[in-house]
Symmetry: C2
Subunit: 276 residues, 2 copies
């Protein structure tokens, strides 16, 4: 069997390393719209071979790991594949818009997957072999896919050490707005807030572990995240509104010198330890 990967950055490149390790495939081939990234990926051994988009139609399973706004265009290339056992998996971070735009035929071949892993780094050189290991992957809209595609996609995700959670694409987009997209918003806003000050270097030289944790995500790719925020605009805006209410509560405690209220608000946040 042959696996193909479109987009050889952090997610696609790391997947290449993971798929090769499973030994489930005779070869893992790749394609990247950037010639430079393709060559880097090959040099780094992320894939066995670079092929054309057209050649990828011959693969048993193809993974799409490109910025969200390019995903539909990439999926279009597979409209005329006729093999009933062909599987195509999209790894994007927002699911509903793409899933509901697919042709009925392609929907049978298509598995929407969102691996809950990543780092703030991007490009082929950011790839790490164990990025997916012991992490959660959310599969969505499995009811539209054929049984074979569902089983095959799951088998591979299990083989690279992932834990599978299934839900419909709307629930997915709503939940990840809070658990992934909102945290990125906060980190970008924190970095911009500090950088907007007159001499940010005087502030940043004092950074301890707390600021390092909170600003890590602010190093993430503008293209990747602009596309994600665009496609999940409604749910993301809702999560930001919920979040802003919490900030208002805190400001209210300070304005009214209500430090018992403030302590209770912090103690409530501490409940996150029950889950994480």
């Amino acid at each position: 069997m042959q696996a193909g990967i479109i987009g050889l950055g952090l997610m696609g490149g790391s997947l290449g390393l993971a798929l090769k390790e499973t030994k489930m495939f005779k070869s893992v081939v790749g394609y990247d719209a950037s010639l430079l990234h393709g060559r880097q990926a090959l040099t780094l051994g992320l894939v066995d071979e670079l092929v054309s988009l057209k050649d990828l139609q011959e693969c048993d399973i193809v993974y799409v790991a490109v910025p969200l706004e390019s995903t539909l265009e990439v999926l279009d290339n597979f409209e005329d594949v006729e093999r009933p056992n062909f599987t195509i998996v999209d790894l994007g971070s927002v699911k509903d818009k793409i899933a509901s735009s697919l042709s009925p035929k392609l929907q049978k071949y298509y598995i929407g997957a969102h691996p809950m892993c990543g780092t703030e780094n991007s490009g082929p050189s950011a790839s790490v072999k164990d990025l997916y290991k012991h992490k959660i992957v959310i599969l969505s809209n499995l009811d539209r896919a054929s049984t074979f595609q569902e089983a095959f996609a799951k088998e591979v995700f299990l083989a690279i050490g992932m834990q599978i959670v299934s839900m419909d694409s709307i629930s997915h987009d709503k939940h990840v707005a809070f658990i992934s997209h909102l945290p990125h918003v906060l980190s970008f806003a924190l970095a911009n807030a500090v950088l907007s000050q007159e001499r940010p270097e005087d502030i940043l030289m004092l950074a301890g572990g707390g600021f390092v944790s909170m600003s890590r995500l602010s190093k993430s790719s503008p293209i990747t995240w602009s596309d994600i925020f665009k496609q999940n605009k409604e749910f993301l805006t809702n999560s930001i509104n919920v979040y802003e209410k919490e900030l208002q509560k805190l400001k209210g405690f300070l304005e009214e010198d209500d430090y018992e209220g403030l302590k209770a608000w912090i103690a409530n946040a501490n409940r996150i330890s029950e889950f994480l």
Copy 2:
């Protein structure tokens, strides 16, 4: 020489381990208002001996590592110490209010220090030996302290592996509002936002590395952080206002579908990599 530590939680307890390792002191003694914490600290070997507040007056150097709102009361106990070589160091996270409340006499003995390190855990059992190593400590208002006290305090901080930065207490409070207090606000607010949802467990089960990073600080102590927010209320409120403007910018890009503006905003946040 003998060193004393008041407050044997994360900061005081970790300092005990670090001071013992320097071998600069014949003994490192401690006091905690909580009998349980005192005994835990002794069992864990964080200090050599538990003593009374009064006994601490005999130490060469005393470190105060209690919640901010208790600091002045603790410092009051040292008003009648008459030894010119007595040094007292407060490790609190906000400096101006305390420094400017001290008597002229105590100000000569007093060094305001803020070690830029910590973890989300608290209590004696949270202590770790290398908490201070290779971290920054901000010393403030050194002009009010006597030469001996400044030199001695610096020598010990260097001995436990810290890097010293000096500034006046107002600049300190202004800078740490951005680099330490604001990040804690964001993390508490993020945790509370998710926990306010109908079934937070359904969201939190999907947490990846990003959410884990961004919610870590939300596990921090309500007493410690309520006191910090209270004492740094003005600068903290200012930093929250600056931060909220960045959130408004982001919401504006989404509302106006200005994705070039959004990309530029994210790319600006990426500049944090030039510093960290």
